[in-house]
């Protein structure tokens, strides 16, 4: 296993899939000559040419829809939408076409499409460039939504997404691109719809995805030195959602905290909390808590931005409160 960055894992996977299958092609803004806003596609235009690596105008609705139509015809387009914020320009195509074609045409159309797009705040990009809108897509039957937290899963889930016959939204994260980790060499296709237990534990279950899963693991490791045994679950897939892994863990630990970068109300954490209420109610020793972003358009000023986003300190505090809780609120 090589230790490489999340960015490198994505790049290498795209390259391998382009080599493997002539039907795989990349579309997106600035992915070719400019080599990608976040350099995921660096060198791929030079290697594969403009037929396979297609720079697009700033037309998210247009090129996302083009990719949908191309996928209907048997190609396997991988679209890069520069950030998830811009996917709103394409949401009609994603929600009303990609997600629905197979079902509404009676199983006669396939849309083997991948949309890669990073979310995340914390880069002082302010309100319109820092959002976590994955729950909008996770809400929609017909789509699959994956959110790798580690370089290994970046490879595994992107490989699986490209080979999947359904439309897959692949949520990346600006803050993860430079993170490093071990990645299996050679063929490594993950399983869409399976959460991962990043760290086993017995006192409390901490559930996250994407950047928040990384924070959760970091916090759990630090708490371990303090005698707290926290089990960390990385959801990895937001649709389909692996409810069994979540509930099995909470039945074991009896306490749960969810950490997420999206806004609290109606967020991924709300879905997880409801899942736990249905699947592990009798096992709970404390109310399920959510650690999520403050519900404001993310401000530019650094102190405000920091205050609005969940971090390790806040998560640590809420885990301790949950461990101490007999009733909530105290």
């Amino acid at each position: 296993m090589a230790v490489i960055s999340y960015r490198q894992a994505l790049h290498d996977t795209l390259r391998a899939e382009l080599q493997r299958d002539e039907n795989v092609l990349l579309l997106g803004e600035e992915i070719g000559v400019f080599e990608g806003s976040y350099k995921i596609t660096a060198g791929l235009l030079a290697e594969f040419g403009p037929r396979r690596v297609r720079d697009t105008p700033i037309s998210e609705e247009g090129f996302t829809g083009v990719a949908i139509g191309a996928a209907m015809m048997g190609l396997r387009p991988v679209v890069e939408i520069m950030t998830i914020n811009f996917s709103l320009l394409a949401i009609d195509q994603i929600v009303n076409n990609a997600a629905k074609m197979r079902s509404m045409f009676g199983g006669q159309a396939s849309v083997p499409l991948v949309i890669r797009t990073p979310g995340g705040g914390g880069q002082q990009l302010s309100a319109t460039h820092s959002q976590n809108l994955e729950v909008w897509y996770a809400h929609v039957p017909g789509l699959k939504v994956v959110a790798p937290a580690t370089p290994a899963d970046a490879k595994g889930l992107l490989t699986a997404a490209i080979r999947d016959d359904d439309p897959v939204i692949m949520l990346e994260n600006l803050a993860l691109y430079n993170t490093r980790g071990e990645v299996p060499d050679g063929e490594h296709a993950g399983q869409i719809g399976q959460a991962a237990v990043l760290k086993p534990g017995s006192d409390i279950t901490v559930i996250g995805y994407s950047r928040a899963a990384v924070i959760a693991l970091d916090v759990a490791r630090r708490l371990a030195t303090d005698g707290v045994s926290a089990e960390v679950i990385d959801l990895r897939s937001l649709r389909p959602l692996d409810r069994d892994t979540v509930c099995a863990s909470v039945r074991k630990t009896s306490r749960a905290v969810i950490v997420e970068d999206d806004w609290l109300s109606y967020g991924i954490g709300a879905e997880i909390a409801a899942t736990i209420a249905e699947g592990a109610f009798d096992y709970l020793d404390a109310p399920v808590r959510r650690v999520a972003a403050a519900e404001v358009p993310l401000p530019y000023a650094k102190p405000l931005e920091l205050a609005a986003l969940p971090d390790a300190a806040v998560l640590t505090r809420v885990i301790r409160q949950t461990l101490d809780a007999t009733r909530y609120p105290r």
Binding site: L25, R51, T56, P57, S59, E61, G62, F63, T64, G65, V66, A67, I68, G69, A70, M72, M73, G74, L75, D92, Q93, N96, N97, M101, R102, S103, M104, F105, G106, G107, Q108, A109, S110, P112, P141, G142, K144, D164, D165, D166, I192, G193, S237, P240, L241, R243, D244, V246, C247, A248, R251, A274, T275, I276, E278, G279, A280, F281, D282, Y283
Partner: protein, 385 residues
């Protein structure tokens, strides 16, 4: 029985396509009878085939409206009544290997392309034998066998995927007279939406084999074109993308066919996309439930003059292509075909509730939630694993 009818419909439309001359008609003069004189060299059998298709669409749509009022058809139901010449002319220009994307006003296109009328009606009825297995309804007919890649319900939503289908064709090979092309229909009001402009720009920029056809029936629901489009000569909007195009008389089936055929040849032969505007009329409201109270007296008079079907029929009878008896026989045959389609749809069962989750995913993930309303999303762990 339904299959027999389908073969008949398919073979008649395919035969019409095969029978078409590939030479351009020299003159664009138009007879007052609603079609150019048959002396232009058109095979009378082809003309009779077009009449047969137009009558079938008319009969089908009239019956669909009736079925809607009898609650056999639910949801929205948009009819091609009055647009038969446009529909038949456009579809006649397509080759069998071409692809067609339509709007939600699409029954006629499916029929003209050769879809089984019984399966079209069954889809309107929401039955398992429907063209989309009862999942789509009137707005979402899909038939890969005739390369009908969908009716689309969101205004403009079909343009990007249609452009993508053309992208896939270009991805797989260069232009040439034997290459397939894509035809994408849209309404007049669609030219105001972003997806239209983004699609045309991409098609022109990337040189894709696609013909966009605006069916201008003068009204976006109840809004006149002039009240919605700053450039009401809609085909001119393609000029921004250096896209050739023209406005044509959508009431003349041969004019429509010739223009569409030339456009498709340009699209497939040069990968030059084209924007056509067929001026047409819808005889009824936006959908079956719309009484069209916004119509002015002038509109109504225009409609009376604009109905292409009696004009085409009279012209064919006048120039001897059809005699009255043969025309009446075609009319009766259409009524019989539609009656059989209704019977077929009625006999087809509704989809079983146990199939509710079918077709949502190509590769479902085992164990994921497929609950009905009221079902818990997660098992309690005791006996639920």
């Amino acid at each position: 029985m339904a299959e027999g009818r389908a073969q008949k419909a398919a073979s008649s439309s395919a035969g019409a396509r095969r029978g078409q001359s590939r030479t351009r008609s020299p003159a664009r003069t138009r007879s007052p009878a609603g079609h150019r004189a048959a002396s232009g060299g058109e095979d009378p059998a082809v003309l009779r085939g077009y009449y047969r298709q137009m009558v079938l669409i008319r009969a089908f749509e009239v019956r669909a409206a009736e079925m809607y009022t009898r609650a056999k058809i639910g949801g929205y139901c948009h009819l091609n009544l009055g647009e038969e010449a446009t529909v038949v002319g456009l579809v006649a220009a397509l080759r069998e290997d071409d692809y067609l994307f339509t709007t939600y006003r699409e029954h006629g296109y499916a029929l003209a392309r050769g879809a089984d009328p019984g399966r079209v009606m069954a889809e309107l009825f929401g039955r398992v034998d429907g063209l989309s297995r009862g999942r789509g309804g009137s707005m979402h007919l899909f038939d890969p066998g005739i390369r009908l890649l969908g009716g689309y319900g969101i205004v403009g939503g079909q343009l990007p995927p249609a452009t993508g289908a053309a992208f896939a064709l270009a991805y797989r090979g260069g232009p040439g007279p034997d290459r397939p092309a894509v035809m994408c229909l849209l309404g007049d009001a669609t030219t105001n939406i972003g997806a239209f402009h983004e699609s045309l720009n991409l098609a022109a920029l990337w040189r894709l084999p696609i013909v966009y056809v605006i069916v201008n029936n003068h009204l976006g629901m109840g809004t006149p074109v002039e009240a919605a489009a700053a450039e009401p000569d809609l085909w001119k909007r393609g000029c921004s993308y250096r896209m050739p195009g023209q406005r044509i008389d959508g009431n003349d089936v041969l004019t429509v066919r010739e223009a569409a055929r030339a456009a498709l040849e340009q699209a497939r032969g040069e990968y030059q996309p084209v924007l056509l505007e067929a001026v047409s009329y819808r005889l009824r409201g936006h959908s079956v439930v719309d009484p069209a109270k916004y119509r002015t007296a002038e509109d109504t008079e225009r409609l009376r003059r604009g109905d292409p079907l009696p004009a085409f029929r009279a012209g064919l009878v006048a120039d001897g292509t059809l005699d009255e008896q043969a025309a009446a026989a075609i009319d009766a045959e259409a009524d019989q075909t539609v009656a059989a389609a209704v019977d077929y749809a009625d006999a087809s069962p509704s989809p079983d509730v146990s199939t509710l989750f079918d077709y949502v995913y190509a590769t479902p993930v085992a164990g994921t939630y497929q609950g009905l309303p009221g079902d818990p999303a997660a098992g309690t762990g005791e006996g639920s694993q």
